[in-house]
Symmetry: none
Subunit: 203 residues, 4 copies
DNA sequence: CATGAATGAGGTTTCATTCAT
DNA sequence: GATGAATGAAACCTCATTCAT
């Protein structure tokens, strides 16, 4: 995906098919939000995207494949620019802060995508294995980052899982709350969230 | 529910109807775990509970009501003894630790119930409003507890939501991870989780 | 099946469900004849039997199971009384004649069943394995009968497959022709068919 | 079709369209064998022939027309050289033997075509009327041949239908059996089949 | 209280076919 | 001539729910 905005804005589409595919993707985001991955059906997606259910099967093998491919797109969009952001500093602790900042900024920029990601993590059975695998592969560098942080001795000597559990997880959760309420965290709150996370893991 | 064990053990049931109702509840727990709240259907519940689909409608108005009532039962079971535990100490910070401990102990004792609660929070649309409301009402004392903690000046001056977000939320999330892996946290890990939570919110 | 007439006549049905099941079976026969096993669909069967498509799934697991169970019923009906007829004589050659006679009589009595059996043999993929297996098991005694005939030395020393191929197969085929034309073979023609078969295999 | 080998070998095709048409024809044969005429769909044919579904509609009006035209081609290929073979002898009985021999040889040479013909005869509803009519017209000379045989007095005085039923029909059936098992009849067996047929109809 | 039977509505997916390019 | 994209219709099947017994 060269332009991650394509999820959000439909203006200036060149190819007809991309237009339809985007409409489908948009519909999936909206429906995931409205009725959850549980209630999302191909029929509803098609109706909302103003295409025939059969059309969806041109682009995707089946429902699980559709969600999988969209998840992969979402992951790419979400992680876009993350590596550069993280590598803009050298200290592992600063890098983790940059990572958390990236998560917050992207979640605020693309709340629907963040919600979709969250939903897929709760219902992995609905997603084709490729999407799950891709998602996990994307997480590996983050785990390594946390491992470097642990190795630096600046934080508690606990598993990366626990680290993530008290940093990225509550941040994502908090942003979900905002999303559901239709609000956005202000700068002070953003700094608070990062501070809470860092304080949790610091020695 | 006077006896929370009734979820777990089917032996020594006195009333026939309670027997069937319990079988249904058990089936809901098992299916939520196996196929998620998504894939759970009345037909599957009925088959697993060895009752007719029609029987379920004797006890519950419809599917959403069934899940709602079960959620209420679960909440009761889960919170059983919580108040006494919390009030066994007087310092708000100690009370919060007691609360977190209670969450951990109950999640380990009733992993299926914890999983069910988690699932319902992800798919509130599936649950009748009564269950959601009851669930929220149950949370109010906890919010008050956190408010008392904030007032004590021993912790950061942040919203209860953020407090819960870096204490109870990651703990519940971590226990879900264990549940999915079929493991249980050891004592050291339990203490780590509480420490992480407290360190996050402490001044 | 205690009364093979139940396929044909709907009168005097006692249990409601058997009534519906019979209507479904009848519809399958009629549709197999009209549009072939190819064109037979659950929706068409349901409409013709005046039941909901969902009702069919109460009686049968799926389409293949439906055809399989009906095939088994048909085989039973068709073979009803065959053993006694065959064993009413002792000479293998006479027994084969009795067998061929039975085939002719039953095909004339239950032309729809004969047609259905024929159709299933052409499209075994449509039938659940149980039906196919049952069908094959039913053929075994016939093969043994032909083996006894071969052992008797009264006929050519060829494989049972070839024997059947020039006796039962053309007879069944010829009766299919009659069925399609809405005619029935007269006594002379019946004797001719048996004579042709016997002459083919005799030394 | 001037060259019946074109079904089998794709090399040395001159016109592009004929190449594609042949690919389609080949795909139809293969799919008829693999999934039956029942399961054969335009989409599957297109994919296997590596053409667009729309391309098929350039050559054929619709699915029934496609099968009809292919059936006509097949009939032509199958009957190729038959007349000469039959007329190479003058006795009606010898001519019938030649005919049966021709059926056997062609079925062994083009088993896929024989299978396709067999399949179409079982599901005439799938074929456009032209193909069915052509197929019947092709049979007329054979019926006349049998009529001449009957007139010769060398065989039983029975209808041509019965004659064919105990000669060509079981032979075709037997060869289908071989085809399904992936075997071929040896010379002895071929002679046996012809002998069985002749013995059946001889006085 | 309990149920087996029944169903309309809707689910996913494939079909034969068309059309703009 | 050739196609990729598109679709209405129809395929199979499951759903939550009701009702006579």
């Amino acid at each position: 995906m060269t332009n991650e905005q394509s999820f959000i804005y439909n203006e200036d589409m060149r190819k007809i098919d991309e237009n339809k595919k985007d409409a489908i993707t948009q519909a999936v985001f909206q429906l995931t939000q409205e009725v959850g991955l549980v209630g999302l059906s191909i029929a509803k997606v098609a109706k909302l995207a103003a295409v025939s259910p059969a059309t969806i099967y041109i682009y995707y093998k089946d429902k699980a494949d559709m969600l999988s491919q969209i998840l992969i797109q979402v992951k790419d969009t979400f992680d876009d620019g993350m590596e550069e952001t993280i590598l803009s500093v050298s200290e592992p602790l600063e890098q983790v802060k940059k990572f958390l900042n990236h998560v917050i900024r992207q979640s605020m920029k693309y709340p629907q995508l963040a919600y979709f990601m969250h939903a897929t993590m709760e219902s992995p059975n609905e997603i084709a294995p490729e999407g799950i695998a891709y998602s996990q592969k994307r997480t590996e560098p983050i785990i390594e980052l946390y491992n470097r942080l642990i190795a630096s001795g600046k934080v508690k000597n606990i598993s990366p899982d626990l680290m993530i559990g008290w940093t990225a997880v509550p941040i994502a959760d908090q942003l979900q709350l905002h999303f559901r309420n239709g609000t956005l965290p202000n700068e002070a709150e953003i700094q608070q969230m990062i501070e809470l996370s860092i304080d949790a893991i610091k020695k």
